[in-house]
Subunit: 126 residues, 2 copies
């Protein structure tokens, strides 16, 4: 049984199959969280997730599962754009901030030049 | 035949099935670009993509396909983090820019205060 418990992992339970001790899903999809596997299965399909995990070294599989769960949630929330909607929003935010920063730096330069000009004028007066 | 051509669409060709005139894939996966469907099929599975498209109104399907292709490419490039790697990178970039902007605004305030202090000092001298 997956995860050394008496119940099959969430994946094997949903797929109605025997959960063996070398089940690829068991370490990442515990029986107490059936939604985690259900959402990944709905978006990517169990077979694809299994293949993706098999192609990765064990120490990277947990991160891969987390990112697949994140992507699947994003696709459920936004069936048209999924994660790409968030990327597009963040890219716009980066562009906006880069512009604001450039404006702030230009303003700062103007203030500094004005300041220096004033100082020079004063030196000329004295 | 999908897309009103004489050849089946890229999806039906890969899945070795008959491409009917109401094929859900045909408008978005033309026969001349087999890679576009292959990558989406590899990551999401044809059946899931078909279901996702069926659940959307026709005018949103093209955008959905584009975002699925983008996500699939990201997952092929980075099998551990996929699109989530890009989101994480952009979130860090936003935080970094927000910090730089706050610093620039604080510096600008200091320069302005210094400037005003100098002006006041001058007024006192004259």
């Amino acid at each position: 049984m997956g995860g050394n418990t008496n119940s099959p992992c969430a994946s094997c339970k949903l797929l109605r199959r025997r959960c063996t001790k070398d089940c690829i899903f068991a370490p990442y999809f515990p029986s107490h969280d059936p939604h985690k596997f259900a959402i990944v299965h709905k978006v990517f399909g169990a077979s694809n997730v299994s293949k993706m995990l098999q192609e990765l070294p064990c120490d990277q599989r947990e991160d891969a599962v987390s990112s697949l769960v994140y992507e699947a949630h994003a696709r459920m929330r936004d069936p048209v754009y999924g994660c790409v909607g968030a990327i597009s929003y963040l890219q716009n935010q980066v562009s906006e901030l880069q512009m604001q920063l450039a404006v702030a730096q230009a303003e700062m330069l103007c203030i500094q030049m004005e300041h220096e000009y004033d100082s020079l004028s004063r030196e000329t007066i004295f």
